[in-house]
């Protein structure tokens, strides 16, 4: 890879200052598990590399019963995976992490890095969107909070401005009678999916047979994760049986926007979305009932 000027700022303010100074010519490196590949393949040649990996103030998981979960952007996948709080309160997140890439990648790669790299087949983003996550974007100009569902623009493109740093992920507290799951269709273990679905369902507090609302987020079948809106609307307030699940699965498969590649045709990806929506809705509902 080509060389660069290297900075390792010690705090968020210094990072923002550097970003502001070198807008457009600088790249942030956190775990680098995606970035270093781009550098090695000479797909990017930043003049400046800002290494934030060692900034401890961005490495935390905080839980509050009412506020929910606040995760520092430099938390590694492995930390999230093994956090007792996350395993207890947001199991679908921890569960998704156990099958994300490999052990080594999870040990060094960060959540913030994954989100900002914006790989269309990320496992993390659809899962967080299903949990209605928000991200905090920080710059010298201040802070703004954005729903993760509005964070992605296109393949490898987000709404992050050149002088901004993603510093925190916030997941609102979830109601008791809820359940969620992420499943993907991949060819081998460690792969991202050729299709992935994250589903989070909240059951009616009086009648567990009724689904109050559901979030169904489709991954790897568009430039970024897509909410399966028609399917979500179909299930909202309804009793969830096989017939409604099948219809929701069919809608999802119609509404996604997969691109054919050497691993799978567009039709196969749509078919897998159908299968995954079927599976995840069933599972999310049953987890909600068991909660």
């Amino acid at each position: 890879m080509r060389t660069f000027k290297y900075f390792s700022p010690k705090d968020v303010k210094s990072v923002c200052t550097l970003l502001s100074e070198h807008q457009g010519e600088a790249k942030i490196i956190a775990g680098g598990q995606s970035l270093v590949i781009l550098l090695r393949q000479k797909l990017i040649h930043p003049t400046y590399l800002i290494d934030i990996k060692a900034i401890e103030e961005l490495n935390y998981i905080q839980y509050d019963e009412k506020e929910g979960l606040r995760i520092g952007a430099l938390t590694t996948h492995r930390t999230l995976e093994t956090s007792p709080i996350v395993m207890r309160e947001f199991f679908m997140l921890s569960e998704m992490e156990t099958r994300l890439a490999s052990f080594q990648v999870r040990n060094w790669g960060t959540l913030g890095g994954n989100l900002c790299h914006a790989d269309f087949a990320s496992d993390l983003s659809p899962t967080l969107i299903a949990l209605d996550a928000e991200v905090k974007l920080t710059s010298l100009r201040g802070e703004r909070k954005v729903k993760l569902s509005a964070f992605f623009k296109d393949h490898y493109e987000t709404i992050l401005r050149a002088d901004e740093l993603l510093t925190e992920i916030v997941i609102p507290a979830i109601p008791k009678n809820s359940g969620g799951v992420y499943r993907k269709a991949n060819l081998i273990e460690t792969d991202q999916g050729i299709a992935g679905v994250a589903t989070f369902a909240v059951l009616d507090s009086d009648n567990k047979e009724i689904c109050e609302y559901i979030r169904i987020v489709l991954g790897a079948v568009g430039a970024f994760p897509l909410k399966s809106k028609r399917a979500e609307e179909l299930i909202r307030g309804q009793k969830v049986d096989d017939a409604i699940i099948e219809e929701a699965a069919q809608m999802s498969s119609e509404d996604c926007r997969p691109i054919a590649d050497i691993h799978a045709s567009e039709e196969y990806k749509r078919e897998m979305i159908k299968v995954l929506v079927r599976k995840t809705v069933k599972k999310a509902i049953s987890r909600g009932k068991a909660a």
């Binding site: 680098g32 270093v36 590949i37 590399l49 060692a54 093994t82 052990f103 990648v105 040990n107």
Partner: protein, 155 residues
């Protein structure tokens, strides 16, 4: 422009002056002659470059060396105490888990790091733990046997 890197490798404090784009893999193999760490694909997929950073298994081909400022690196050469092999190394030898040996350093270090965090894994857990390490020779059977035997011995 070269920059100073201070770190510990296999127990020894070291200082190196390196170009900032130097990967941990190149630092270890080319500058420090720890050739036990291998280069198999340079894209983070094969795991042959795995080393331990502060005890955690990572892929050195995907890490900028400067990120290891002040950290402790363990390569395969640092696992044995002189000629006294680590139980995992002994187990690999005894179970026939080594054929060409190219994946072995990465595989052993990954297993060590995984077992340090999961001292009582099932076979499926072990397979998941080493899913980031490719082997073309063994079919993984004896590698898993060797790791499970070490688990049994540790109990």
């Amino acid at each position: 422009m070269k920059m100073k890197l201070k770190l510990k490798v296999n127990g020894a404090e070291l200082e190196a002056f390196i170009e900032p784009h130097t990967t941990l893999q190149d630092l270890l193999r080319e500058d420090l002659d720890f050739t036990g760490t291998k280069e198999g694909c340079s894209s983070g997929m094969c795991g042959a470059c795995t080393v331990l950073v502060d005890g955690k298994a990572v892929k050195s081909c995907l890490i900028i060396a400067l990120q290891c400022q002040g950290k402790e690196i363990t390569t395969i050469e640092g696992l044995a105490r002189g000629e006294q092999l680590h139980p995992l190394q002994t187990s690999f030898i005894e179970h026939g888990a080594i054929q060409c040996g190219f994946c072995t350093p990465g595989m052993v270090l990954t297993a060590k790091s995984w077992l340090d965090e999961n001292p009582n894994p099932s076979e499926e857990d072990v397979r998941l733990g080493i899913s980031g390490n490719l082997c073309r020779c063994t079919g993984y059977v004896k590698i898993v046997d060797a790791i499970m035997a070490t688990v049994a011995k540790n109990k």
